[in-house]
C-alpha cells in the first residue's frame, strides 16, 4: 500500500510570476509531499483579512492571510504549511512573518518560511520541504526522547564528517574528520567511533544518516533512517541540552549554511535555513583562523582574550568584503584577538540579521555544530540575543547524535523481525 502523500498548504505570493512554482511542486514531489492551495471564497478573504487586522495593499497577500486562517482554524486540513514570498518585498515580508508567528501560536502545524527570487531552484527547497514533510509524517519518531539499543548516527557535512555510537542512552563512541571524499570520510569516522566504543559493525542495531552526503552514505550503509539535518539537529540539540519539553531555539552555524529552528516539545515548529553568503557561516571563521595563523580549534580561545572586538571595522555580509576587512584590520594594527573576536561578532550579526528575524527566539537558545565550540562566536550571539546560550556536550556531533537517537526508533521493530525469522 502506498503511503498517503503529506499535504502541504502553499501560502505564497509571487511564486508563479517568479517562474519558480514548478520548482516548489517538484521539490515537494521528490520528498513525497503534495502542495495545495487552501480553497477560500471571496467572502472568506474579506472576513479573514478584516479579522486578522494587518492592513496590506496586495490582493494576493490578503488571499494568503485568508488561506492561512482557513488552515489554522481547521476549516482545511494540512500536514504542513509553506509560506514564501519574493525576496526584497517589504510588504510580503511583514505578512510572511506575522503569518508564521500566527500559525506557530495558534496551531501545531509545522511551518517553513522562505523568501525566493527567480534563481530559487528545487534543490534549495528540497531540504526545507523534506523537513516539513518529515515532521508531519514521522511525528512519532520525532517524539522519541530516549535512545535505546545500540545505534549509529553519521553526519556528512560540507566541512566535516561525524559519527556517534550510542548504547542505552549513552554516547559510547565518537569519530570526527574533515570531509574529503564523502564515503571515505564516513568510513574513517565510523572506524574511529567503533574503536572508541569497542563495538563491531555487526553490533549496531540501527543506523541513521544526515547532512549533505546523507543519501550516498545512507545507501552505502543500508541505513534505516536518511534524514535532512533540520529535524535531526534540532532533535539532537534538545536531547543533549535536556530541553525536550517546552520551547527552545536551536542555532547551528554550519560550514556552508546556517539553521535557526524554533522547537516545541522536541519537534521543530518553524525554521529557516540558508544565508546570503558564506560570510555569514563557519567558512568565514575558517578563513579568519587561517589569516591569523591559528587552527580553527584555537580561534575561540584567542577571541576570548578580547572584550568582543566591537571597535574593529568588520563586515562579513559578503565573504570577499569580510576577508578584505580582515586584511585591513590587521594592517591597521588591531590586535589578533580583537580581530578574531570581531570576526565572531560579524558572523553572529549576519546570522541575526538574515535569519533569526524569521524565527521566534524562545529560551533556552541552544547552539550546536562545530562552530559552537568557538567561544567568541557563542559569546557574540549571546550578547546579540541578550541571553545565556546553552552549548551542550558533544555539540559538534549534533547531527550524528540526533540520527543515532531517532534511528533507535527502528530497534524494537528490527529485533522483533529478527526474532520472527529465527
Amino acid at each position: 500500500m502506498s503511503e498517503r502523500p503529506v499535504r502541504i498548504a502553499q501560502i505564497t505570493c509571487g511564486a508563479e510570476y517568479s517562474g519558480i512554482q514548478n520548482e516548489i511542486t517538484s521539490a515537494a514531489e521528490t520528498v513525497g509531499a503534495q502542495m495545495f492551495y487552501p480553497d477560500v471564497a471571496l467572502a472568506d478573504v474579506k472576513t479573514a483579512y478584516k479579522e486578522f487586522g494587518l492592513p496590506v495593499k496586495s490582493p494576493d497577500l490578503k488571499l494568503a492571510i485568508a488561506r492561512a486562517k482557513a488552515v489554522v482554524e481547521g476549516k482545511i486540513e494540512a500536514d504542513g504549511i509553506f509560506i514564501a514570498s519574493c525576496f526584497r518585498c517589504a510588504e510580503a515580508a511583514i505578512v510572511r512573518n506575522e503569518l508564521r508567528r500566527y500559525i506557530v501560536e495558534h496551531s501545531r502545524i509545522p511551518v517553513v518560511s522562505y523568501s525566493f527570487n527567480e534563481r530559487t531552484g528545487s534543490s534549495t527547497l528540497l531540504t526545507r520541504l523534506e523537513a516539513l514533510s518529515t515532521i508531519a509524517k514521522r511525528r512519532e519518531l520525532m517524539a522519541r526522547e530516549v535512545q535505546t539499543g545500540i545505534t549509529m548516527g553519521v553526519d556528512s557535512g560540507s566541512s566535516t564528517t561525524k559519527c556517534i555510537i550510542m548504547k542505552d542512552n549513552e554516547i559510547v563512541g565518537t569519530g570526527w574528520r574533515p570531509t574529503t571524499e564523502v564515503l571515505k570520510s564516513a568510513d574513517e569516522v565510523i572506524e574511529l567511533a567503533l574503536a572508541e566504543s569497542g563495538l563491531k559493525m555487526s553490533d549496531i542495531e540501527a543506523i541513521g544518516t544526515t547532512g549533505y552526503g546523507r543519501f550516498l552514505i545512507g545507501k552505502h550503509l543500508n541505513a534505516d533512517l536518511i534524514q535532512e539535518e533540520l529535524t535531526v539537529n534540532s532533535k539532537g540539540a534538545v536531547y543533549l541540552a535536556d530541553a525536550q519539553k517546552g520551547f527552545a531555539t536551536v542555532i547551528d552555524i554550519g560550514g556552508m549554511d546556517n539553521k535557526a529552528i524554533s522547537v516545541n516539545d522536541g519537534i521543530p515548529g518553524s525554521f529557516t535555513m540558508g544565508g546570503i553568503c558564506a560570510g555569514a557561516s563557519g567558512r568565514f571563521l575558517e578563513m579568519t583562523s587561517k589569516r591569523l595563523g591559528v587552527d580553527i580549534t584555537e580561534l575561540g580561545a584567542l577571541s576570548m582574550k578580547s572584550d568582543g572586538g566591537e571597535g574593529v571595522p568588520m563586515n562579513s555580509y559578503c565573504i570577499v568584503f569580510g576577508t578584505q576587512s580582515l586584511v585591513n584590520a590587521l594592517a591597521a594594527g588591531y590586535k589578533r584577538e580583537d580581530v578574531a573576536a570581531a570576526a565572531c561578532h560579524s558572523v553572529a550579526q549576519q546570522v541575526y540579521e538574515q535569519q533569526l528575524q524569521e524565527v521566534d527566539i524562545k529560551e533556552p537558545v541552544i547552539m550546536v555544530g562545530g562552530s559552537s565550540l568557538i567561544q567568541g562566536l557563542v559569546r557574540a550571539m549571546g550578547r546579540m540575543l541578550k541571553t545565556e546560550i546553552v552549548v551542550p556536550h558533544h555539540s559538534q556531533y549534533i547531527g550524528a547524535v540526533g540520527a543515532a537517537l531517532i534511528s533507535s526508533g527502528f530497534v524494537g521493530k528490527k529485533r522483533a523481525e529478527k526474532k520472527g525469522r529465527k
Binding site: R7, F36, Y37, D39, V40, A41, L42, V45, L63, R67
Partner: protein, 152 residues
C-alpha cells in the same frame, strides 16, 4: 528540464458569463452548442467557455450576446478550459482569477442597467451622461478640511 509542447495553438478562449432572470447559464451553453460546428464549448456554473479560432469564437459570441445583450459578459482567457494547470481539482483550491470574477459579477447588475440605458441614448445624450462625474475617491485635502471646519 522537461520539454513543453503546447496544445490548442492558434486558438482563443472566451469566458461567457450570464447573470439574468431570463437566461440561465445552461441556456447559454445550449445556444452555443447549437451553432458550435465543432468549436469546443464547455458549460460552466456561470455560462460557458468557448475555444476555437478567433473567427469561430467571435461568430458564436455575437450570437450569444444577441440573446440577452445587456446581461451577457465576455472575457478573454489565456488558458484553454479545464486545463490541469488551472483546474481546482488539481490545485486543491480555486485559481486566483475565480475570486476576481466573483467580485466583478457582483457589479453586473449596475453595468447591465448602464448598458440598457446607454443603448437608448442619442449621441448628445451619451455625451451628457458621460460628463457626469464618477470621481476617483481621494483623501480630503487638509486645507479643504480646515475650510469646512471653519465654515461650520
Amino acid at each position: 528540464m522537461k520539454e513543453y509542447t503546447p496544445e490548442y495553438v492558434g486558438t482563443v478562449t472566451k469566458y461567457v458569463f450570464v447573470d439574468s432572470p431570463d437566461t440561465t447559464p445552461q441556456d447559454i451553453a445550449v445556444a452555443a452548442y447549437e451553432i458550435a460546428q465543432g468549436v469546443m464549448v464547455k458549460e460552466t456554473c456561470f455560462g460557458c467557455q468557448i475555444t476555437g479560432t478567433p473567427e469561430d469564437v467571435e461568430r458564436i459570441i455575437d450570437h450569444l450576446r444577441s440573446l440577452d445583450p445587456y446581461r451577457i459578459f465576455v472575457k478573454d482567457r489565456g488558458f484553454p478550459p479545464g486545463d490541469s494547470r488551472r483546474c481546482r481539482a488539481n490545485l486543491g483550491g480555486a485559481r486566483p482569477g475565480y475570486l476576481g470574477h466573483e467580485f466583478e459579477m457582483k457589479l453586473s447588475l449596475y453595468i447591465s442597467y448602464g448598458l440598457s440605458e446607454v443603448d437608448k441614448m442619442t449621441p448628445a445624450e451619451l455625451k451628457r451622461a458621460a460628463e457626469k462625474s464618477l470621481p476617483v475617491e481621494e483623501n480630503l485635502d487638509i486645507g479643504q478640511l480646515e475650510k469646512i471646519f471653519m465654515e461650520k
